[in-house]
């Protein structure tokens, strides 16, 4: 028997390359390329009066300088609004290079192409721009107040207002035995991949062909954008993703201004051109996320059962809306989590500010939604004096209630919000067991007696994963017996080369080490969507499984002919097709690949067997009418709707009574992503997500001052946690409730680890401190200030009615 690969903690095949410095990233390619530097706005809001580039033109080593005036055709139009939505009544996108006005510090105004980045930066410093300052709108309060406008023609700074509801929450809340209302707030953070954005382009003037290598989460998206913006046929453009040093969402946005400006310059100059984003640029000109203010109104009964929930929130979308309303839509739908709501209303406003754009960052609106719901659960428990897990349990959707539809709510894919499967009570049982939840009260009391403050926090989440529309898989068996797999979505370090190979190994019956996986290359997979929304395993995993099945079916058919047996009597083991029970009667997949491709010319020993005088029934065409040459399988997977993964995080913290520093004593995760392909990869995803959750809860924020300058645009002041700040170990337990929606029962695992972080820490700190936490992240300085204010003011933020 071939060793089963699905579900095994197989070591990642890409790690040897990636951790020994042999990865090849965009900046490693085309060392001869000219390099681009960008003049970025130093002001958050200003009109551009004039741009003088004269001083640049004479600088030795400078090849070109471009401003908006130099852009032509579609390139002179605003960048695309990628995901339009009927409620996005005032969507705005920026120009590749600013036209007339800049709306955030970092917005691209001009580019210089020079022999190298040093000279390009020198030249950028020589461009003179005259600005007429406009009042900046910074922060949600300023956006809501709308005393100043980001865009003249967007009243109230409101890009969109959207409401979804089911039932009659006002009546249910009003009639409930208990009611709580309170306000919450979440600060901004950002993706921060190790490799920033980067694009290399080469134009071949003879073949009239554009080759682009970009550090992106969607090669097909970039391809379409480059072709459109440069007026090229799609078939003239190849986009290849080299190794990508992390994405976390920011690289699904496309095209970035640089992603179209680099190909433009390469075409005009007839030389390869490269742009490599530096860290400061990543802070001020890529994307941020998370910033929201929320208002909760909830009615519940004596058991803590929610009878009606009404949520209003204000979402800071930054200066433009290229990614539409995806983040706030996810917040408003995923907020519900694993709970059954009799009635629910959510209303959000997506607001412009003169700050960096807001687009999905791992979690993509879910951390905010989970924060709202889990703070609500804790508030209900505190109000009723009940255990926090009990209140959650009484609200859980039960295992026999799937598929579970949340009224007529519509999810981020435009489809009804229907959960496919899950077992939340069992998950809670596992989570409580990991931390000995019921014993914690004693631990807390003992610590208090010693003058120590410890607290335990919990947060549950449900994550819609594996959203459509589709992905494809291509599995080709070469004459050597090696199997080449291609799928179009891209890889940023997740371990796709390993996981997809595991799937194909099992489906096809070939050895894992004979399989090679390629992702994100439009030459191999021209039809694809991209890597986002924890969809790679579900979408491409399913697609390569289907493609492998197609290849297997053909292999068996060919083998049945060759061995003169029935297809049903055959099996494939370690790349050999053999007759069940008579393994001596066999043929290798490589040989079948030879036979599948009738040849006129022999190019090696093996191919001699397929030449015209060696094989074939002279009474039939060499390739049957309904057949194709080659031993390969291709298929696409397109789901009806998303899968829904789920999980519970529990954290135990200790807060220093004097310095208010927060230390993590224990972190436990129960996670259900359906069928596990590779538990080691899933655990790695959870570890990384938890680390980002720690960052979002305790360290990271975007410190804008009132003029819109980002004060911490470096790793010295933007406090991404080091390994010393994240838990040394994370207790993980898995639950597998397979999804009925796809052939392997998969759900996504990519984002889960980060989603409940802020909510779990708020819960734990609240438990340790014995006062309410309403805003995250929280620093020791802020916790100390809260302690002082609680000591003098015993009024609670919650209005109990």
């Amino acid at each position: 028997m071939t060793t089963k690969m699905m579900g095994e903690p197989v070591a990642r095949v890409e790690d040897d390359r990636l951790v020994t410095g042999r990865g090849r990233y965009a900046d490693d390619l085309a060392p001869e390329a000219l390099e681009m530097a960008v003049l970025r706005s130093p002001h958050a809001h200003a009109r551009i009066v004039s741009i003088d580039v004269d001083a640049v033109l004479d600088v030795a080593g400078v090849h070109a300088v471009y401003t908006y005036e130099d852009l032509e055709g579609a390139l002179a139009e605003p960048l695309p609004l990628l995901i339009p939505h009927p409620n996005l009544t005032h969507g705005r996108t920026q120009y590749a290079l600013a036209k007339d006005e800049v709306n955030y510090v970092g917005e691209a105004i001009a580019i210089v192409i020079a022999d190298n980045r040093y000279l390009a930066e020198d030249a950028v410093g020589l461009i003179e721009v005259q600005y007429e300052f406009l009042p900046p709108v910074v922060g949600i309060d300023a956006a809501r107040a709308a005393e100043n406008l980001v865009h003249d023609d967007v009243p109230g700074n409101v890009a969109a207002t959207m409401e979804q509801s089911f039932g009659d929450p006002e009546a249910d809340i009003g009639g409930a035995p208990h009611r709580l209302t309170f306000d919450l707030e979440i600060e901004r953070s950002a993706c921060m991949p190790m490799e920033g954005r980067g694009t290399v382009a080469r134009w071949d003037p003879d073949l009239k062909r554009m080759s682009v290598w970009s550090s992106t989460q969607t090669s097909t998206g970039v391809r379409a954008a480059v072709a459109t913006k440069l007026g090229l046929d799609l078939s003239q453009v190849d986009v290849i993703t080299p190794d990508v040093g992390g994405g976390f969402g920011v690289k699904i946005v496309h095209p970035w201004p640089e992603e179209v400006l680099v190909p433009m310059a390469a075409k005009v100059l007839g030389r390869p051109v490269k742009f490599t984003e530096d860290r400061r640029e990543h802070f001020i000109s890529s994307a941020h996320e998370r910033g929201q203010q929320q208002h909760i109104d909830v009615g519940f009964d004596d058991d803590g059962r929610i009878l009606g929930l009404s949520v209003q929130f204000w979402h800071d979308n930054g200066a433009y809306t290229p990614y539409g309303l995806i983040v706030p839509i996810i917040t408003s739908t995923q907020l519900i989590g694993p709970y059954k709501l009799p009635s629910y209303r959510v209303v959000f406003q997506s607001l412009y500010t003169n700050t960096v754009i807001v687009t999905p960052y791992r979690g993509a609106g879910r951390p905010q939604g989970v924060f709202a719901m889990e703070r609500t659960m804790d508030a209900i428990a505190a109000y009723l004096g009940k255990d926090r897990t009990e209140v959650r349990e009484v609200n859980f959707i039960q295992p026999d209630e799937f598929p579970y539809a949340h009224g007529e709510l519509s999810f981020q894919d435009g489809r009804p919000l229907i959960y496919d499967s899950g077992n939340y009570p069992e998950m809670m049982r596992k989570a409580k067991a990991l931390v000995d939840w019921d014993e914690f009260e004693k631990v807390r009391d003992e610590a208090r007696a010693e003058g120590r403050k410890v607290g335990i926090g919990i947060a549950c989440y449900v994550e819609g994963t594996g959203v459509g529309p589709y992905e494809g898989g291509h599995v080709q068996i070469e004459t050597s017996g090696k199997v080449k797999v291609s799928t179009g979505l891209t890889t940023q370090g997740q371990g796709h080369e390993t996981a997809f190979a595991q799937i194909v190994a099992d489906e096809l019956g070939v050895r894992f080490e004979d399989i090679q996986v390629v992702t994100g290359d439009t030459r191999r997979s021209p039809y694809s969507v991209g890597t986002f929304a924890s969809r790679a395993a579900v979408m491409s995993g399913s697609a390569v499984a289907l493609a492998a099945r197609a290849a297997k079916a053909k292999a068996l058919r060919l083998a049945a002919d060759a061995l003169e047996v029935d297809v049903d009597d055959l099996e494939i083991v370690d790349g050999i097709v053999r007759v069940k029970g008579a393994p001596a009667s066999q043929i290798a997949l490589g040989t079948l690949a030879v036979l599948s491709n009738p040849l006129r010319y022999a190019f090696d020993e093996a191919s001699r067997a397929a030449t015209q005088f060696a094989v074939g029934d002279p009474t039939k065409p060499p390739v049957a009418e309904d057949d194709e040459p080659g031993l390969e399988g291709k298929d696409y997977y397109s789901p009806m709707r998303s899968t829904f993964a789920s999980g519970i995080h529990i954290v135990i913290v200790e807060t220093d009574p004097e310095t208010a520093e927060v230390s993590i004593l224990k972190y436990a995760v129960v996670h259900d992503c359906g069928t596990l392909i590779n538990p080691r990869i899933v655990e790695g995803q959870v570890h990384g997500g938890v680390a980002q959750g720690v960052g979002g809860a305790l360290y990271e924020r975007m410190a804008y001052d009132e003029t819109g300058q980002l004060q911490n645009a470096s790793f010295m002041d933007f406090l991404m946690p080091y390994v010393t700040e994240v838990p040394e170990s994370i207790e993980i337990d898995h639950l597998e409730t397979p999804s009925p929606l796809n052939p392997l029962g998969l759900k996504g695992a990519g984002e889960a680890g980060v989603i409940p972080g802020a909510a779990a820490f708020a819960s734990a700190i609240e438990d340790a401190e014995n006062f309410t936490i309403t805003s995250m992240p929280i620093s020791p300085s802020e916790l100390y200030a809260l302690r002082l204010s609680k000591a003098t003011d015993t009024a609670t933020e919650r209005t109990n009615t």
């Binding site: 040093y118 860290r279 004097e658 310095t659 080091y722 620093s779 020791p780 300085s781 100390y784």
Partner: protein, 294 residues
Amino acid sequence: MKPAAFTFQRPTELSEALAAYAANPGAKILAGGQSLIPLMSMRLTTVSELIDINGIGELSFIEASEAGVRFGALARHAELHAHEEARRVQPMLHAALSHVAHATIRNRGTTVGSIVHADASGEMPVVLTLLGGTLTVASTEGRREIAADDLFIGPLETALESGEIAVEAFVPALPARHGIAFDEIARRHGDYALCGLGVVLGLTEDGGIESVRAGYISVTETPIVVDLTECFPDGIDASSLVAAGEKALEQLEPEGDIHASAEYRAQLARTLTARVITAAHADAKARLFQEVTA
């Protein structure tokens, strides 16, 4: 993040470096480069010329004697941190260097460079002041010693004259019956301290408190050492430690920034004052016990 153009030279003799510096006082000296290079790369500073002293072998030394520890301008934080004799003679060096940034920065960064960078949120300027150390500087005119008390004249500003290169520093040995402790609180491990504190505490022969001197980090614009001896007339207890914290705060000027409020930094100063003095007292008692039993 690429620096603007600069000229570069890498002399192998100190005399060459001094001559080059005299010829171009606008040049910058490159030792570990852990502060200078990022500033140049972010174009927060432009430098016409870099004089790299890493080729000057004579500046790369650490000498520990019973008098104290002398170390050259190329002694890396990591080397000084790991130097067993230096640690024995003056344990404050090891204790404070444990808090200087991260291992990779300590491998490259130099302690003398850190001192002349004169950042009041750096550990080593305060340590030099607290220990009563000296800095030796050289120019084409000759050498001179500057006492730490006279060295730090403003934020990021020292008493070095044009054309002078810091070539070595000296810290005296820890006297008998003395103990030390150092601690700091940073947002992340290895970050600049929100507040930090080194204490040298002396005991009388019968174990009473003879002296308590405390050097504070990140709560003033220039390195500051506060003599807190008078707070402990009757030894160390909870109330005297509180009093010491308040006394120290009279001389500190904590400021708020994006990482911590001024009030919080003051709280850290109070807390650390009590914690570090307590630790230094325990250290002094342990050393005294060793001295007596040796």
